[in-house]
Structures are given as structure tokens and as C-alpha cells.
Symmetry: C2
Subunit: 653 residues, 2 copies
């Protein structure tokens, strides 16, 4: 009922009809075939969703392992590895496969991520041919299970400070791996508690008494199922979710591994004990090594976005079946989705999910290009890392928020495990933390923006960053982002002159983009100015940073939201005219305007939004919701989530 | 480090020191002894927190039942019942006991709520002496377990529309209870799947062919552990959380109960089949019956607030132990709580928790007075119902948000079950839905505001409300809340004249209250005007309501936030001068200003906040966070959560 009167006939607007398969094809993009393979596999193993509820933790771990190994046999999980070892030789395909897997049980997803992304990725990216020959073929099939032992109890985000030490013993030509303190035990390591036979261990390398920073080593942790000599293993126990993944702790007590256990793509130790690396600067070396692992972030971001799709599909289908209260007539209660508030709760989340989908497509494509050597220069790598960090942060927070809203929108029914929200919520919760805590990732994004990707600064640690942005180079930043220059740049964005942004159509994507660009650049300049002012006042750099930190995070968020909108707008512009384009434009407008609305206080505070215009945006959002309302089911159907993955027979049936 | 430079010495501000036991005494209030009894019981049964993880669903249900019955023996759960039946005869004490129980396992809490609050409350409030004599003594001890069968699969929020029918058979002098459709099965009923022997069943009463609306009946559902004849019982199965509570579904196939099974305080049927009630208006009768059950909402709101305290206590203690990144010095990494962003994430949540605590104290006290006959008039009941609905909605949303933020603030460690967030998050999730969906509750609050408690309108159902506010009486509402009158009232609020609110100190509670009052009244007037305009334009009332619905919810939220601030300010004003008062004032300011900041766009849009003043508020919040920072641990310690309930040995130890 909310739709028939939504749009006056005089407006010329014609409600589009969505060709669902065509929209699915557009969303699936290059890797439609890969995504369909995963969809087929998901449906085949659908029983795992009930296993997750009914099995004991021990049994479920085994079940998840079995499914992962069986899926590996279909080629689904090895797409990113070289063909010569049995892989698919296509990074982009591997991301697409991983993302799609997020429609299903997330323990399977994360186990795949640990085995093939983290463990396999470390061997592939940090190792050299000998390592590839020794491990890749076996790990691709799942015959060899491994883990990625980076995080320590005392050091999650600050990897450079971790406490495990690997000392080179030239007499034996071995490294000696040692956990130096209780805080330095490896913790939360997936595959460690039960299944991994080897670990890629990150440790401070010491050669001839000199510390060379963090490096990675291949260390056997189990022999015939029992802990290897000198290795202690403890189970992390039950977790909020992902209980099909066996997370554990590792301690190393003078564990000896041969010299060749060092993953030596970026640094090596000669038999005599001479440290050698093609990268002179230790910080840069560290970040180069870490940079090769960016794939994990891209995967988690995509996984979060697709988990949100599952929640939205269920809540949307429920909202067009469930009636509650007689609002319009005495005869029949009203459908939930015909309530304005319900539209406001769900439809902007669908719009943002579409926006993030296309942003994720961009970062996945950049990843493919960089790691396939298409565009493998320093600048492309830095841009990829920043974009991966930002998309991961926004995508996973979006998942947490969306799953919660969808559960509440399904009322008590949403609380029953059969309706998937229980698993989605518990399993995806950690996405905002692992592969980089979201706040730390946004700081990383901000660092990149503040340094404007200047290569001499990119490898600073956090203290270095603080000192950099608060001291040495802050003048440059100020110069680059000065309010004066900023206003000029914003003026350049406004094709119609100074006041254009006060007059432009709210649905003009150039207007929407100009708003988000202005916000980003202004926030960035504000951060730089505050940092400088604090330093000028003689405050401790850490104190200055602490006080500006929320602005740092906000600036990074503004940057990423701008990239997301650009990705959406670019995608639409590449499409032929027609109903599909009209529908996507509605979603893009809804995403852009709700993004501006959410931060409208900031825009008013900074002279970019008048009160009448701010109110007009809110009205326009209401109107957009009423236009999107009749498309809602098609929009979630276009994600082509296998029906078995939705479960919820009473809600979506 | 963030604290020593937080306040210039010249300001005259002296950082307060908190006497933790004194603050605990202030928070515990009248019922300190009761709360301590529950704390002792919680510590004694602390093993239930691990049982929740380790036991099968079946075993855990039995365990929870046993704990509930054992706690009942201490008098803890029966405090609200008359002493003659073995109760404590003190409603206020029963609320205090229930709230405190929320520090522990929430299955125990909810099982207590089902047995003593819902089931016991219905017998007590809807029944008469014969029912009391028959059931109260046994249910207070837990010898008789019961359930509260109101919700149906097809009708959660809209209780008046439920489909179960109770037909009076004058020949047999019995009621015949029947589930008339699949949608009319009772669903999500706590205690139904396993433990309840009797149910209070809500059904449409039909007498002599006439429908008399929803009434409650005592119906045996089990005989010697097996379903009673004509009763079908199904298990709702595994849920996101609260798996110690056995929720189930009930179907009735012509189940006969004696005439005396009708809980007949507000209506009765004579043996001959004549329907009689002291309340003529059927709607009013229905809402009178429902109104007696308001205690459940008060309890859930308090439970949510206390669950949030547990999460905040863990996250705060972790944040003063955990270090990450060298920010201030090379020697030592920085404590999490010395980062500005971390302060911004946690400290306003502590402030809001304090505010809600005192608001909850007010509503619990009103409940006590109304149900103890101290102030049992129509107006007091209406005010209580509105306040209970609003506090429940804000308190439970606060719990969901706070638990999530605290989990993220504890990183990967927060994901391990041992650290309580897993259980807190899963168990408390449904609080926003049960005992009234939060959005529906806020609509209820708004209805009360729009009708200004005019007694002739209070019993309207939602359609009635829509028609009322959009039609018949809207002129009155407009009159009462016209912009003209509103401005006069706001002017009355401003002791220093028209511009006073632009000049008043940000930390002046009168200023803060005036801001929240203005927002509430303006939003309310806006809703009324929009409703009227829609009707004047000839739109369908349901359509009009749908378009205004988000404003309705916002107005109700504004109203409740004003009440919460008033409760906090009143509490502080009643305190003697001293450090405790200074500390509470910091928290109150932090709550008030973050509340204004969160809606600062609205205040700017409505001329109550200039841009410089809006920015000044954000700066002041930063300053307040730095002042609260050194008090944070004392503030969470004052909640006196038994250490066993925090678990998390590595986080808080």
C-alpha cells in the first residue's frame, strides 16, 4: 500500500522492473562460473548448518575439516595457487570463491581462510621455490594441514612487537624458536588446537646477536598427531562462534628447525650466519612481507558483505509475508515492509550492501592485478593495502550491524537457531577484529592519506606515524591539505560554481560525490591542523594523537565511504540504459543520501548543508524507500543465495 | 598519560576521588540487603556459567531449573508475592532481586522471570483468592512450574488479534480451549517444552456466541510429565541463547477446563453463561488486564541495564591492563584506556548506564507504589506503563549496543567464551524483542504522549490510534502542542530569556534538560502536524502513519531520554556535596552532552544549536572523558558485580 501513492504520476518516473537473472549476472561479474560452483557445493553440504547446532565441538571440528577437504577436491579452494601445484592460477577467482562461501557455514569459510589463505598464502608469498615444492601440492589438497602463527596473547595489532624469538645457530645451521614470555605464546591460532601439522611461525629473527625483526618460519608442530618435541599446544576452548575451527595456543621451547625453514623470499641467512635481504630498510622489509598477506583482508571484507546478504534476504522475505496490526484496513493486518519504519530499517541496508559489493569488486580486481603482475608497482600495492583495510573495516562493521537489525526485524522467530541469525551473529562477530582490528585498520588508512602515499613514510610503525604526523612532515601535510587549497579543490569539483552544491539536484551523483569528497578532504586537513597545533603547544605526541584519534578514524571512514560511492557510481555508469540501471540508481541514491544524512550534522557544521536542504534529504530518503520497496525481494533474490543456506522455513518459505 | 594534562590547573577543577562502597550503597538504594542476598547466591552458583557452555541443552535445562528452585528456597524469587503464601510482600524488593540476578547466567534470570514474573504474576494479578489459594504457595517454591501462553506464531505484538478461542459450554460449565489455526499455536513459550505443568493461556473468550475479547485461563498442560489430553507440545529447539530455558509451542484441541479456570479478577462468566465485568469498555478491560503485567517490562529493562554493566566492567578492567603500540614512549606500550578513541567508545556507555540505572530506579519505585496501593490511580498507572515501556526499550537497546562495543574493545580475547561476552551477547539479544518489541513499545509511549493521557483514548488499538491521531482528535493534539504554545513553554524553561539557551553553560543541567525538553515537545508537535496534513490531503490513515512512523519513534525516544536525564539530575541534586557528587556530575554531563551530540543535527535544524556551540559540545565531551578516565575502574567496581560473574581471568585478573 505504501507504493501506489509513492510517486505522483506527473513526475514522469516509471517504476522499474528487475530482471533478476540479469542482475545476478551483473553482480557475479567475471567469476559467475566460480560462484556457481561454490553455490552448488554449498547446497550439497547444506547439512553442515544443522551439524553446527547439533554436534559436539569435537565432532563439528572434524566435520568442518572433512567438508573443507572435500570442497578442496572440487578445485574451489585452490584457485589462487599456481597451476603447476594443482591450483587454478587465478587470484580473482579465489576471492570470488571465498566470498561466495560466506553464504554458508562460516566455520567452513574461516577454516578455508586459515588453511589456504593464511597458511597457504604465507608459503606461497613469503616462501621460495623449495618451499612451494615441499608444501603447496599437499596443502592445496588438504593432505597437509597448517596454521598461521602470528598473533600472540600480548600482541594482536602490534605485530612488530611480538615476543617469539628465532635465533640462528650457525654450528647446527638451524634456527631455535622460543616463546620468551607468557605473553608471547601464540594465541587464537586457527587449526592449531587439533588439525595442523605445521605452522608458519612469525618470530623476531636474531642472527649473530643482532635482531633483524619479524620473519616467518615453517615449523612442524605435530608428529603423528602428538605435539612435536618442544612444542606445547593448548586449546583456546569454546568461542562465541566458529566452533568448527580449532583455535589454539602454541609455546615453543627451543624448537630447532633447519636453516631452510626460513621463508626466504625477502630475506635469508647464509649457512655461515650472514643476514641478507634485497630490502635494506627493516621497516620497509617488514611491511613488504606483511603486504603480501593483504589477500586475507580482502577475503574477510567480502565474507562480511556476503554474510550481511544472507541476513537481509531472510529479513526481507519475512517482511513481505508477515503481517502485524490492522493499519490500513480492518480486514487484513499490514505487511511489515509496508510500514515506513520497517522500510527505513531494512532498505538502506540493502542499498549499502550493494554499494559495498561493488566496492569489494574493485578491491578484489586490484588484488588480482597486483598479485598477477598486471599492475605490480609500489603505488598500486599501497593503494591496494589501503583499500583492502578500509573495505574490510566497513564491510565487517556493516555485517555486524545488518545481522543485528535483521534479527530484530524478525522478532522472536529470529532468535531460533533454525533461522540462521544465531549462527550468523555469533560466527561473524570476530570479523571486525581478525585480519586487523577495524579501528587499527582505519588508522592505517588515515596514515596513508596523511602521508599522501609518500614512499619515505609508508613503513612507519604507529609511534613513528604519531611522530611523523605530529612533527617532522606535518608542514607538508598541512600544505597539501590546507583549507585554502581544499576549498579550491572543492570548487573545482563544483561544475556550476561556488553555490552549485546548494542548488544541485540531490539525486545528481556528481553532487553526492562532491559532498563525500569535501568531507574527506576537510576532515583530513582538520586532523593535520590539530596534530600540528598540539605539537606547537608542546604536548607529548602520544597525547596529541590520543586527542585527535576519533577524528583520524572519522577521516579514514569518510575516505572509504567516498571510494565505496565512487565504485557504485562507476559501475552504474558502465551499464546500458534500462530498468536495471534505474533500479541501481535508486539504490545508489539511497546509499549516498543515507550516508550524507547520517553525517548531516558535520555537513551543516562545515557549511555544506543548509537546514532546508538537510530536511529535503531526509524526505527524499523516505521517497526512495517507497520506490525501492516493491523491488526489495528481487534485489535480495539477485544475490542468488542457495535456498538451503537461508533455512528459516517459516520465515521465507 | 591522558589525564595529567587533561585539566589546566587554573580551572579550579579538582579531580574527585570515589569512595567505592559509598557509591555502591547509593546505587543499591533501599534494597541493598536484597541485592547482596542475590550477589551471594550468584557467587554460590557460579559454576552455572561453565555449565552453560559445557552441558547439553537437555542437561542445562535441568540444571537451570534446579538452580531456580534452590534460589527460590532462599526467598530471593518470591519477594513480590503476599507473605501469607510464603512471599516477601515487597514488589520493590522483587524488582531489585531480579535486576541483580542479571549479573549472572541469563537463562536463570529468564526462567525466574517466566515462573515468578509471568506465570506467577498472571495468577496473582489476573486471578482471585481461589486461584491464589490453589497455586501461589506451590509456584513460589517451584513445586508447581507454569508457563505464560500469550504469544502465538502469528501474533506477537498484536495480542488483541490472537487466534486461540475459549468457548463457554454452559451445560458442562466448562471452557473449551482450541487452537483455531496453525498461526494460532502458542509459540516461544518459556517453560512449555519441558517443565511446566500448567499454563496461563490467553484466548478469545466466546460466551453464548458473543466474543468478549482476550482473557486468561489456567490450563493443565501436563499430567505426570506427559502432555495432557488434547494438548500438543513441541520444542522450539535450539536458540541463539538462553538455552537453559525450555521454550516451546502449544496446540489445544478442544481442551476442557472448569469454569473456575478463568482468571476472573476483571471479568467472569456465571454458571449459566452470562458474561460480567466491572469494566464496561472491552478495550479498556483488555488494557487493564495487560497493564497488570507491566512488571515484566520493568524487570527486563533492569536486566538489560545490569547485563550491560557486566560487559562494561570487563572491558574497562581490560583497558587499564592491556597495552598496545608505543604511542607516548619507546619503553612501554600505551594502555588502551589512554587512547582518546577508546575513551570515546567506553566512557559515554558507562555514563549512559548510570543514567539508565537511576531512571530504572524511578520506574521500579513507581511500580512498587502502584502495585502496593500507595499511588494506585489511573494516571499513575498510565504513567507507569509508559515509563516502563520506554525504559525497557532504551535499556535493552543499550545492552545490545554496549555488549557489542565491549566485545570489540577486548579484541580476539573477547571472542572466547570464558570471557562472558559470548553468553552475554547471545542471551541478551532477545531482550529487545520479548516483553514487547522495542519499536512497538516506543509507539505505545508516543500514543500516550499524543493523547496526553486523555482517558477516553488510552485503550485504542493501533488502528484506533492511527485513526485517532490522524482524524478525530488531532485538532486537540495540535492545540496542545502547537508550535506557538511550544515556544512559549520552551521560553518558560529558559530562565534567562529567549537567547539563554545559546549562552547557558554547557554543563548547566537546566540547559541540558531544556534542550531535551524542547526536542521532545517539538518532535511531538511535528508528528501531530504531519499526521493532520496527511489526513487533510485525503491519504489513507495507515499510509499517513507509515510515513510518519520514524518520527513517532524518534519523538518517543526523545521523551524517554528526557526522563532518563531528569532521573539522573534529580538523583544528584538529592546528594550532599562532595567528591561523589562531583563524580556523578561528570557522568551526568557526559550522558547529557553525548545525547545532545548524537542528535546535534536535529538541534541545528531546529535552531537550538549554533555551529560553534555544537563543536564546543564535542570538545567538552573529550574533556569530560579525560576527567572520567581515572575514575573508570571505581565506577564499574561500584556496581559490585561478584568477581565470579566476570570470569575472564586473563582480562580482568
Amino acid at each position: 500500500m505504501a507504493t501506489d501513492t509513492a510517486v505522483p504520476a506527473s513526475s514522469g518516473y516509471v517504476q522499474p522492473e528487475i530482471d533478476v537473472p540479469a542482475l545476478t549476472a551483473l553482480l557475479d561479474g567475471t567469476y559467475a562460473e566460480v560462484r556457481d560452483l561454490v553455490r552448488t557445493n554449498l547446497a550439497e553440504y547444506a547439512s553442515i548448518l544443522t551439524d553446527a547446532e547439533e554436534m559436539s565441538v569435537d565432532d563439528f571440528r572434524e566435520r568442518v575439516k572433512d567438508v573443507v577437504v572435500e570442497m578442496a577436491a572440487t578445485g574451489q579452494t585452490g584457485m589462487g595457487f599456481p597451476e603447476e601445484y594443482g591450483g587454478g592460477g587465478d587470484i580473482g577467482a579465489s576471492i570470488a570463491a571465498f566470498e561466495t562461501l560466506a553464504y554458508g557455514d562460516l566455520s567452513v569459510l574461516v577454516k578455508v581462510g586459515v588453511q589456504f589463505g593464511l597458511f597457504g598464502g604465507a608459503i606461497l608469498q613469503l616462501g621460495t621455490e623449495a618451499h612451494h615444492d615441499a608444501y603447496l601440492a599437499d596443502l592445496i589438497t588438504g593432505r597437509l594441514m597448517g596454521c598461521f602463527a602470528m598473533t600472540e596473547t600480548g600482541h594482536g595489532s602490534n605485530v612488530q612487537a611480538l615476543g617469539t624469538v628465532a635465533t640462528y645457530d650457525p654450528d647446527a645451521q638451524e634456527f631455535v624458536i622460543t616463546t620468551t614470555s607468557e605473553d608471547a605464546r601464540k594465541d587464537y591460532i586457527g587449526n592449531a588446537a587439533k588439525h595442523a601439522d605445521v605452522a608458519v611461525v612469525f618470530a623476531q629473527l636474531e642472527v649473530g646477536g643482532a635482531s633483524q625483526g619479524v620473519h616467518a618460519f615453517v615449523v612442524p608442530i605435530r608428529v603423528d598427531g602428538a605435539p612435536a618435541p618442544g612444542v606445547r599446544i593448548e586449546d583456546d576452548g569454546r568461542k562465541m562462534g566458529l566452533n568448527g575451527v580449532d583455535n589454539g595456543r602454541l609455546w615453543f621451547d627451543h624448537v630447532r628447525v633447519p636453516r631452510t625453514a626460513l621463508l626466504n623470499r625477502f630475506a635469508d641467512v647464509t649457512p655461515e650466519g650472514v643476514y641478507e635481504s634485497p630490502i635494506d630498510n627493516p621497516n620497509r622489509r617488514f611491511f613488504t612481507m606483511l603486504g603480501t598477506l593483504v589477500q586475507g583482508r580482502v577475503c574477510v571484507g567480502g565474507g562480511g558483505i556476503n554474510a550481511a546478504k544472507v541476513a537481509l534476504a531472510i529479513a526481507t522475505k519475512y517482511a513481505v509475508r508477515r503481517r502485524q496490526f490492522e493499519a490500513t484496513s480492518d480486514e487484513q493486518e499490514e505487511l511489515l515492509l509496508d510500514y515506513g519504519m520497517h522500510q527505513r530499517r531494512l532498505l538502506p541496508l540493502i542499498a549499502r550492501t550493494y554499494a559495498l559489493h561493488f566496492a569489494q569488486e574493485v578491491v578484489a580486481s586490484q588484488l588480482h592485478d597486483v598479485f598477477s603482475g598486471v599492475t605490480d608497482d609500489e603505488h598500486a600495492r599501497r593503494e591496494l593495502e589501503s583499500r583492502a583495510a578500509g573495505t574490510k573495516a566497513l564491510g565487517t562493521w556493516h555485517a555486524t550491524r545488518t545481522i543485528q537489525e535483521c534479527r530484530e526485524a524478525c522478532g522472536g522467530a529470529g532468535y531460533l537457531s533454525v533461522n540462521r541469525f544465531a549462527a550468523l551473529k555469533a560466527d561473524s562477530d570476530i570479523f571486525t577484529t581478525f585480519e586487523g582490528d577495524n579501528h587499527v585498520l582505519l588508522q592505517l588508512v588515515a596514515k596513508g592519506l596523511l602521508t599522501d602515499y609518500a614512499s619515505e613514510f609508508e613503513d612507519l610503525d604507529q609511534l613513528g606515524m604519531v611522530r611523523f604526523v605530529t612533527g617532522l612532515a606535518v608542514e607538508t601535510v598541512i600544505e597539501k591539505t590546507s583549507v585554502h587549497k581544499l576549498l579550491e579543490r572543492v570548487r573545482d569539483l563544483l561544475p556550476g560554481g561556488d553555490q552549485w552544491d546548494q542548488e544541485a539536484g540531490l539525486l545528481d551523483p556528481d553532487y553526492q560525490l562532491a559532498m563525500l569528497r569535501f568531507r574527506e578532504e576537510h576532515m583530513l586537513a582538520g586532523v593535520a591542523r590539530r596534530l600540528k597545533r598540539g605539537m606547537d603547544n608542546g604536548m607529548n605526541p602520544g597525547e596529541v594523537f590520543s586527542r585527535v584519534q576519533d577524528h583520524v578514524i572519522a577521516a579514514a571512514n569518510a575516505h572509504v565511504e567516498r571510494l565505496v560511492l565512487e565504485a557504485f557510481v562507476d559501475k552504474i555508469r558502465s551499464q546500458p540504459d534500462g530498468d536495471l540501471k534505474v533500479a541501481l540508481n535508486l539504490l545508489c541514491d539511497l546509499f549516498a543520501l543515507t550516508t550524507i544524512e547520517a553525517d548531516r550534522a558535520w555537513f551543516m557544521e562545515h557549511g555544506r548543508l543548509t537546514v532546508p536542504r538537510s530536511k529535503a534529504i531526509s524526505r527524499e530518503i523516505g521517497s526512495l524507500c517507497r520506490k525501492v520497496r516493491p523491488l526489495a525481494v528481487d534485489l535480495v533474490d539477485a544475490w542468488a543465495i542457495p535456498p538451503e543456506m537461508l533455512r528459516s522455513p517459516d520465515l521465507v518459505g
